[in-house]
């Protein structure tokens, strides 16, 4: 297929995934900030929402205070934030238009309808909590529909695989960034002066990667920070864990390699990251430092993006 088509499919999936992640982040932050101050302590949750979205610096160029109104506006609707939900959906539609021939009509319809709704219903943003909740649900449902229609209607060829690469790369990045911002509340008890405050931070993290219920099914325990880290980093059965994202990246890259009769740097690099995740234990990671581990992972992940681009997309 055309390199540009592959590139558009890859970015289309990234934008949709990012929009959903931002919606989840806002949703989780709203829940935490709704709690009385004695439950969440003094941290500014809206600040950390900006950090997990990776837009902390650019936000303060436009606003002086990170409060609900400003952060929601910036993350969801701001035209000046290149990765606001609004811009993600617009970029997704533009990418879809460029590769219409590679999309199934169901996928096109999902993105096009979302884009129309974005303008007709959400053009002026939201003014109440209820509207905001509705908007966030709309974004998550768009992502689910898009993902579902890709899964159910696309031919299993390179177009599908490149779209999956974008999705899993973006997802790994998002999960890793949440961990990076919140790692201090995930340290084992003896190293951490935590209290009941952290409980709500933990549920918030799990919520933003839709893993709260999954946690209980996997561990059948009360929330423990190192188990949360284990779930999000190493547990292959959780779709948003780093391990699961890399299983998928390796598999999709292998499929491309087989179809093209050639492997390359992307396949090797992805396999390397996957192997490291497979052979890691949480003990070692804590010993090594969660922060350092995540930093290395983020660098590896964005390196994979560069390699894929060089190998296939230009």
């Amino acid at each position: 297929m055309l390199s540009r088509t592959a590139e558009n499919l890859y970015w289309l999936a990234r934008y949709v995934e990012r929009a959903e992640y931002l919606a989840r982040t806002i949703d989780a932050t709203l829940r935490v900030t709704a709690l009385p101050a004695t439950y969440i302590g003094k941290t500014n949750e809206w600040d950390s929402a900006l950090l997990t979205a990776g837009v902390g610096a650019s936000f303060y160029e436009a606003y002086s205070e990170a409060n609900e109104q400003n952060v929601v506006e910036y993350l969801a609707f701001s035209p000046s934030n290149p990765s606001s939900i609004k811009n993600c959906i617009e970029a997704a539609r533009l990418n879809s238009r460029s590769v219409r021939t590679a999309l199934t009509s169901e996928m096109w319809d999902t993105i096009n309808s979302a884009w129309i709704e974005l303008q007709e219903v959400w053009g002026k943003g939201t003014s109440t909590r209820e509207e905001l909740a509705k908007f966030l649900r709309f974004v998550q449902e768009t992502s689910l529909r898009f993902d579902g229609s890709a899964y159910r209607t696309m031919l299993r060829n390179d177009a599908y695989w490149f779209s999956r690469l974008g999705l899993h790369l973006e997802r790994a990045d998002n999960t890793a960034r949440i961990l990076d911002v919140k790692y201090h509340v995930l340290l084992p008890e003896e190293e951490h002066v935590g209290g009941p405050l952290d409980y709500y931070q933990w549920t918030s993290i799990l919520r933003s990667v839709s893993a709260l219920t999954a946690y209980h099914w996997v561990y059948r325990e009360t929330l423990k920070p190192w188990l949360i880290a284990d779930l999000l980093i190493l547990n292959d059965t959780l779709p948003r864990s780093l391990a699961s994202c890399y299983s998928n990246l390796v598999r999709n890259l292998d499929q491309i390699g087989v179809a093209y009769g050639r492997q390359g740097a992307a396949q090797r690099h992805a396999r390397g990251v996957r192997n490291r995740l497979e052979h890691s234990h949480m003990d070692d990671i804590f010993q090594h430092g969660v922060h350092e581990f995540i930093q290395e992972f983020l660098a590896d992940n964005s390196r994979l993006g560069e390699i894929i681009t060089k190998q296939y997309l230009i």
């Binding site: 055309l2 390199s3 219409r100 021939t101 096009n112 129309i116 050639r262 997309l313």
Partner: protein, 472 residues
């Protein structure tokens, strides 16, 4: 202006036979049912994303072309005549182009003045003496036809560069069949769905000699911001070929390749929807970011077929148009089946004098204009506009032609106040391959939605209709 011929009721109000069943159906169908389906059609168009952009209109970067649900119907007999005339005309266009860029017999026979060719900005000296595969220049032609009475179809304009609109012909039919299955069951409408297959066959048949037995065809678009982008992606999809932009292509050793995820892949035929000027920055406009450097040299080396060929603008120029009847006679030795609109060449003093004396009754067009822009419709214009045109004509007479205001036929159309006659034209699409000319039965009917308006262009408030050719 004469009373317009109505496709349904003729001149005297007698129902014409092709419309009998439709008329009966319209009487049985309550108006709100019609309105409901009209809204449904609009919703479908929007969801599919069939939009076009209007240049200079920031408000509506993407707009829907209004679709009118009342079909325009032609009988088999009418179509047979049209088809014959269209094929004849397009054969002549191709022979004319071959001649202009080679022997120039027609100039030596003094049928067309030389300066009309050589002084013409759409004449491409790069094409002099260059052979194109099978001598086909215009692979896809869109011929704009108007009807003035029961018997006469007249060519208003030949589009031999990158005619658009065929996606509407195909999508209009799809939507009509979805919305009005009952109406189709009562008619025998000739299908149009073979168009993509016929187009692909025509494109493959003109692949260069150096191509493999399975030539690779691609459709080249200026990109998503082009007004006809929807059509480009639609056609690429229907043809099952890659939709490429200039940046996807690269020329190496006079061969054209596209960049794919598996490396470079040779392209043999490009159905290009990019104007000549933007094809190759090394040959034409150096500032073009849409083109492919070196494309023209690959073309000259005979390693790529461009459809349509470069330089076809000289055949559909409005100044050349008035010579089309002579062109048909010269190359084919036949009388033209389809007539031209009587055309005054303002470059000729006698014609200019007549035009200046009769401005309020004529339509004046820029020779190089298109899309309905920059024209004067005398009977509808204000005094001031007419005087402005008079000045322009005196200053630069060779830039204009003039034609009598024709009463385009009308067809019943949904309006705010119920069904009413609106003026229509017709653009059938004529395909030329290595040894055959084909036309799917139908075309794009454009309708001027404003009462009394004669301008059918979508950029100026025109809409479209499904065009039915009834099978005997």
């Amino acid at each position: 202006m004469a009373v317009a011929f109505d496709e349904m009721n003729g001149l005297g109000g007698d129902l014409r036979s092709a419309y009998q069943e439709l008329s009966r159906w319209l009487k049985e169908t309550p108006p709100d049912a019609l309105e409901y389906r009209r809204q449904e059609a609009e919703l479908l168009f929007r969801r599919i994303g069939i939009t076009f952009a209007v240049y200079g209109d920031a408000e509506a970067q993407e707009r829907l072309i209004p679709f009118d649900v009342i079909p325009r119907i032609l009988s088999a007999k009418e179509w047979t005549l049209l088809e014959k005339g269209l094929k004849q005309r397009v054969r002549a266009l191709n022979m004319f182009l071959r001649d202009i860029y080679h022997g120039r017999d027609i100039l030596r026979a003094n049928i067309i003045p030389e300066d009309l060719i050589f002084q013409n900005p759409v004449f491409r000296p790069e094409m002099n003496g260059q052979n194109v595969p099978h001598d086909v220049y215009v692979h896809i032609a869109g011929i704009d036809i108007i009807r003035v009475d029961a018997d006469n179809f007249i060519v208003l304009e030949d589009n031999a560069r990158t005619p658009s609109g065929v996606s509407y012909m195909l999508e209009n039919r799809e939507i009509m069949m979805r919305l009005f299955p009952d109406l189709f069951a009562r008619h025998r409408v000739a299908p149009v769905e073979k168009y993509p297959d016929e187009l692909l066959a025509a494109l493959r048949s003109v692949a260069p000699l150096s191509a493999s037995a399975e030539p690779t065809v691609a459709l080249m678009t200026p990109g998503v911001y082009n007004s006809a982008y929807y059509e480009h992606s639609f056609l690429a999809d229907k043809l099952g070929i890659e939709l490429v932009e200039g940046r996807d292509l690269i020329v190496k050793n006079d061969e054209v390749f596209m960049r794919t995820t598996e490396g470079l892949k040779r392209v043999d035929v490009i159905y290009r929807r990019v104007d000549d000027d933007f094809l190759d920055p090394l040959t034409f406009r150096p500032d073009s970011a849409l083109g492919v450097p070196g494309l023209m040299s690959a073309y000259a080396a005979g390693n790529i077929t461009l459809a349509n060929a470069v330089g076809t603008g000289i055949a559909d120029d409005k100044a050349i148009y008035s010579y089309m009847p002579d062109i048909v006679k010269f190359y084919l030795g036949e009388e033209p089946i389809l007539k031209n609109v009587q055309t005054f060449r303002c470059r000729e003093p006698k014609d200019l004098a007549y035009v200046l004396d009769n401005l309020s009754e004529l339509v004046v067009k820029e020779v190089h204009g298109s899309g309905g822009y920059g024209m004067l419709i005398g009977p509808a214009a204000t005094k001031a506009t007419i005087e402005a045109f008079r000045d322009k004509l005196k200053r630069e007479p060779e830039g204009f032609i003039a034609q009598p205001t024709l009463a385009l036929s009308t067809c019943p159309t949904c309006t705010a106040s119920g069904l009413a006659p609106r003026h229509v034209d017709l653009r059938p699409f004529v395909l030329t391959g290595s040894n055959h000319v084909t036309i799917v039965p139908g075309g794009l009917t454009r309708v001027a939605l404003k009462e009394g308006s004669l301008v059918v262009n979508s950029s100026q408030g025109g809409g479209t209709k499904d065009t039915w050719i009834l099978d005997e």
